[in-house]
């Protein structure tokens, strides 16, 4: 098992290289550059000044040389400095990480603790009133775009009712609150973003676990469990559930990168000070080092998430042994 993990980790290196090359090329292919964003709107800036900026950032060199320079810094864990404010990229990312983690861990927990029971009950009581109601809910969850739902909820709860704040992570006068006041303030700011980011996932996962459970309930070993004389409850929770959870573990692994990567559009709408918003702002400013930094970390987490899912698999499904 250990050997397997080490080998998987080594295999990640070429994968990561490939991902960074593609990201690098795509980012540089997009029109405009950091110099344009800083200077393009001002008629006073001469072409020479622009060229000076270019050479300062190393953008006058051929693309492969630029990539090589970036890569040679990366292996020393040097993500470089932001073009925009000259701060270290790694610091900028670390600053944003807690906000993203907080939001996404909560929404992931919400998704799992609500969607799994929904899916399982729907499967066990297939075609019941509950199941049909959930099908409608899932249909809505799939079709409603998160950004649109976010805006509507902001209008309703933020503007019309005025119950909840609509953006940011804390109020302006946050520093003056007591501890409980601060906590309550953060909770109020979290409600809308967590709900909206969980909404789509809720629909997806509840549908997925329903399908998985239905599949398992059709299996012969469920019939055996019933034939033993077990009560329906034991048949479902002892025999069916564990088998139904196996494919869901993959989903968990795949949702790990979202934990950190954060939703770009989503965090921007709620002005949430997380990684997604950082990435979005970096893209708009053609802030290459920050874009690449966020990209590398997201890619790394995706690969690690897959690995963790595969390892968890082996723990819950004895048929899987890795070599």
């Amino acid at each position: 098992m250990l050997e397997y993990i080490v080998r998987r980790l080594l295999f990640m290196i070429p994968l990561l290289l490939g991902i960074t090359i593609i990201t690098f090329v795509v980012v540089h292919l997009s029109p405009g550059g950091p110099a344009d964003m800083l200077t393009g709107l001002s008629p006073k800036v001469s072409a020479e000044a622009k060229a000076r900026l270019h050479s300062l950032y190393g953008l006058d060199k051929p693309l492969h040389v630029q990539y090589w320079l970036w890569l040679s810094r990366l292996v020393r864990f040097d993500f470089g400095r932001s073009f925009k404010d000259g701060r270290l990229v790694i610091i900028k990312i670390l600053e944003r990480l807690p906000a993203t983690l907080l939001l996404n861990v909560l929404s992931l927990l919400l998704i799992f603790f609500i969607a799994l029971p929904i899916g399982i009950i729907s499967a066990v009581r297939q075609d019941s009133f509950f199941d049909k109601g959930m099908t409608v809910f899932v249909f809505l969850g799939f079709s409603v775009p998160a950004f649109w739902l976010a805006l509507l909820l902001m209008v309703l709860f933020g503007v019309v009712l005025g119950w909840l704040p609509i953006s940011g992570m804390h109020s302006v006068n946050f520093p003056y609150f007591s501890f409980w006041g601060k906590l309550w303030d953060i909770i109020k700011h979290l409600i809308l973003p967590v709900f909206v980011s969980a909404f789509g996932g809720l629909a997806y996962l509840s549908r997925y676990s329903r399908t998985s459970m239905l599949e398992v309930l059709r299996q012969d070993y469920i019939r055996t469990a019933r034939a033993k004389g077990l009560s329906e409850k034991k048949v479902i929770y002892r025999h069916a559930l564990r088998n139904a959870l196996i494919p869901i573990v993959t989903l968990l692994g795949l949702s790990l990168p979202a934990l950190i990567g954060g939703g770009f559009i989503f965090e921007t709408i709620f002005a949430w000070p997380g990684m997604g918003r950082l990435g979005y702002q970096a893209i708009m400013a053609r802030d290459y080092p920050v874009i690449m930094g966020v990209g590398v970390i997201a890619a790394l987490l995706t690969l690690l998430g897959n690995l963790i899912a595969d390892i968890t698999y082996a723990f819950i499904d004895p048929r899987i042994r890795y070599r």
């Binding site: 012969d220 019939r223 034939a227 033993k228 004389g229 025999h239 004895p318």
Partner: protein, 331 residues
Amino acid sequence: MEKILEVKNLSVEFYKGGKVIQALRDTSLTLKRNEVLGIVGESGCGKSTLALSILRLIPEKEGKVISGEILFKGEDLLRLSDKKLLQIRGDRISIIFQDPFTSLNPVLKISKQIAESLILHKKENLSTHQMEKEIIELLDLVKLPKPKDTMLSYPHQLSGGMQQRAMIAIALSSNPEILIADEPTTALDVTIQKEILNLLTELQKKLGLSVVLITHDFGIVAQTCQRVSVMYAGIIVEEASTSEIFHNPLHPYTKGLLESLPSREELPSSSQGKKRRLKAIPGQVPDPSNLPSGCKFHPRCPKVIEDCKLEEPRLREIVKNHWVRCIRAVD
């Protein structure tokens, strides 16, 4: 002999794609204590449905019992409350299935799957140590080698024969009175089939079990059963002792089945050279959602006459204890 299980006029329907499938039509059956009763028929004739409906294991969404009674020691299983049913299902009546690999839970160790049944059906509480002892005894009983290692295995680590032995161990853990074996050897290699059948026969004698053995193979019936019921299109068409059926088959369908068995003299390697093409019954099993009129076998029957198409024949006792559902049985 005492009747331990009686199925009376059982009708079961399945619903598939808007069609009604008559899986069992007014089927009756009697199992006596300590006997092995074979139920024989082609695929789709309703054998497995019969096995499953005895323990009420037919999924509610797929099909249901329309009418009839299933009497276990005089008590109708179809009218029991769910709670009472669980005191009989897996306890007094156990069942084993065709494919042991898919019938065992892949994520639970064999020991756990047996222990679960022991906990459920033993009246007293067992300590961990006693439990282990009981599991090993059961695995010994079904002749699984190295019971201590085997109990800690997962199903996929065992061979097909070993899996079926483990299934039998689970079925016997409650010390049942009746064992229903639904094609227990169909999914296994021929050599293993023989071993499992020998084991079943041995256990039946040792434990005084009453067995319903469902199979499509008359060879298996000859080896293991005292009595046979032949099923066709959801109904019993002939019933007699095993030797009577083999020596004096009366229903054209039974005759057809027996003639489609190769005998030793006819095998290609035999020097006698008494070559005969294996006979097959012409045609196919009728579509159970669209059964023919009259005797359901008439479209394939070599002895068919006009009367056969009119109404379904009744089961008649032609020789003592030999029942046939055919108007031309004695002609």
